[in-house]
Symmetry: C2
Subunit: 320 residues, 2 copies
């Protein structure tokens, strides 16, 4: 993995991924006691940054390989990214999801043109189903984060941050990033290490699901003791990736954790002051910035996704 792969990803994504703006509000600056810039990847196609990595991974395949189609295991944002990217290339996408996934997520993934294959979590093995389908149909597996071209695609967020911040005269900042498996965080860290060396990237995780923060501290792959029971479900993964952890160890500062309440309050402020819709997992970095967990004069918070149910959004509104 190196910066050239991220630059190549940018070329591939040009004219396809949206260049999201950097948003700000004097009210957020006042609340945080420092300057806050927000990179709203909720405005990306499919409502999250995941489209970047998925599109880049498909674009990097040999045309004959790509033509046979893609497969992904996901019930969330990655599934939608792969589905839309595959549709744009006119190739099939198969998304393997548990049969009890929320109806809305099944519908959205189908809405982006994917074939959804469901499995019974109790009696069937996801990986076995996926492997069989890949073999029979020649589908290429697009992993959600531990895959160089996916990391490179997410890293294009970092290139944009470096340039957009420089336009505002900002070269020194803490850059806080919602972190699950670490694809987005490691991609951004790699991009900024090269293009904005005055910036330090910090992964942000939900309290109690801080595998990456603990792994960065210990230097080993730490594991979450549980994988559910938090509103920030989109960024909860068992453990950092084999590829992403070394990159984060080399280029990131310490991890930061936030509570569910802090995430909900950040969603409410994003609604009120930036006019954007965030999901809880997508709001954790803004939450870190707004709840006194950053110290730099300028903080750049990546808002990674906005795929939230109205009922959860109403919980955030209730904090106002």
């Amino acid at each position: 993995m190196n910066i050239d792969m991220i630059r190549a990803a940018r070329s591939r994504l040009s004219g396809h991924a949206r260049v999201t703006p950097l948003l700000s509000s004097p009210f957020l600056d006042e609340l945080a006691g420092r300057r806050i810039l927000v990179k709203p990847e909720c405005l990306q196609h499919t409502g999250s940054f995941k489209y970047r990595g998925a599109r880049n991974a498909l674009a990097a395949l040999e045309p004959e390989t790509r033509a046979r189609g893609a497969i992904a295991f996901s019930s969330g944002n990655h599934a939608q990214g792969v589905a839309l990217a595959a549709r744009e290339f006119g190739v099939p996408a198969v998304i393997v999801m548990p049969a009890d996934a929320p109806v809305l997520k099944l519908a959205n993934t189908r809405g982006f043109g994917a074939e959804v294959v469901t499995f019974d979590r109790a009696t069937e093995d996801r990986d076995e189903i996926g492997e069989r389908l890949s073999r029979e149909r020649g589908l290429s597996l697009v992993k959600p984060f531990d895959e160089p071209e996916v990391i490179a695609g997410q890293g294009t967020v970092g290139l944009e941050i470096a340039e957009q911040a420089a336009d505002l005269g900002v070269t020194r900042a803490q850059v806080v990033v919602p972190c699950g498996g670490g694809g987005l965080t490691s991609g951004i860290a790699l991009a900024l290490a090269d293009t904005a060396p005055g910036m330090t990237v910090h992964p942000v995780e939900p309290e109690g699901f801080d595998d990456v923060s603990r792994s960065l501290a210990s230097g080993r792959h730490e594991v979450n003791s549980r994988l559910s029971g938090n509103i920030c479900d989109a960024i909860i993964t068992p453990s950092p990736g084999k590829l992403t952890l070394p990159i984060m160890s080399a280029h990131c500062g310490p991890g930061i954790t936030v509570t569910e309440d802090e995430a909900l309050k950040a969603m409410a402020q994003a609604f009120l002051r930036l006019k954007i819709v965030l999901e809880p997992g997508g709001a954790v970095a803004l939450a870190a910035a707004l709840s006194g967990k950053c110290e730099s004069e300028t903080v750049i918070a990546v808002a990674s996704g906005g795929n939230v149910d109205p009922t959860i959004f109403a919980q955030a509104m209730a904090t106002l």
Copy 2:
């Protein structure tokens, strides 16, 4: 008024106003049965397009005149635009508002640094107060729409639409614009007449408050019979402007009206599919596109503002 004034406005706004992106979703295209592109001016500074016109009007003043400060009559988006623009220039802004304006609007306007002068609607005359303040303190009045430099500032939205649509291969489209006094609509129409002659601009108004639509049809300044009692309050004005109506008559197609329910449903779709927050008045153009009131293959809907109270937003969510 001509295109050169809009180009000059763009130069003045460069590096200050945000270039908002063009958003889209395959789900909206399916719902509307045509391609929908959304220009989200809710993401503009202060949450609405009004910042553009206000900033341009102040930028166009002689420095000595500007230094004495600006005054505006508004309890809404225009007030916030003038307040922020004045603060950026380091000059005073006085906003004259009724004493019974919503607390949140008073607080937001003060939050952008303005001095708010309130008056009693029953016993005091707004214009008299404003005139006295202007005279005593040498403040420049920034009108909300019937002012060439304000129209020119709003017209920069049109220049961006022409370029961003061309990048997507779109040169023919209906462009639907939320319309109050007509500053935004006339500015966009003037810009597109020159830069994208294949596009036709249509003002969109709330049903029952369609002074502009009726004026375009009759060729005279028609007046609304009432000025309250509709959720789209931000775009309700008594009558089109003296400057804006001739421009709209020369360059716009027929007006379109939408119901309150259609506006609320458009807000909900903007939440669900674009991850943006719209106020009812800011959602009327998207509402026109989604409720079968446009016929072109591609419709470009301007989403003009996002300053909405959580309770109104909850009403929109309830339509899902």
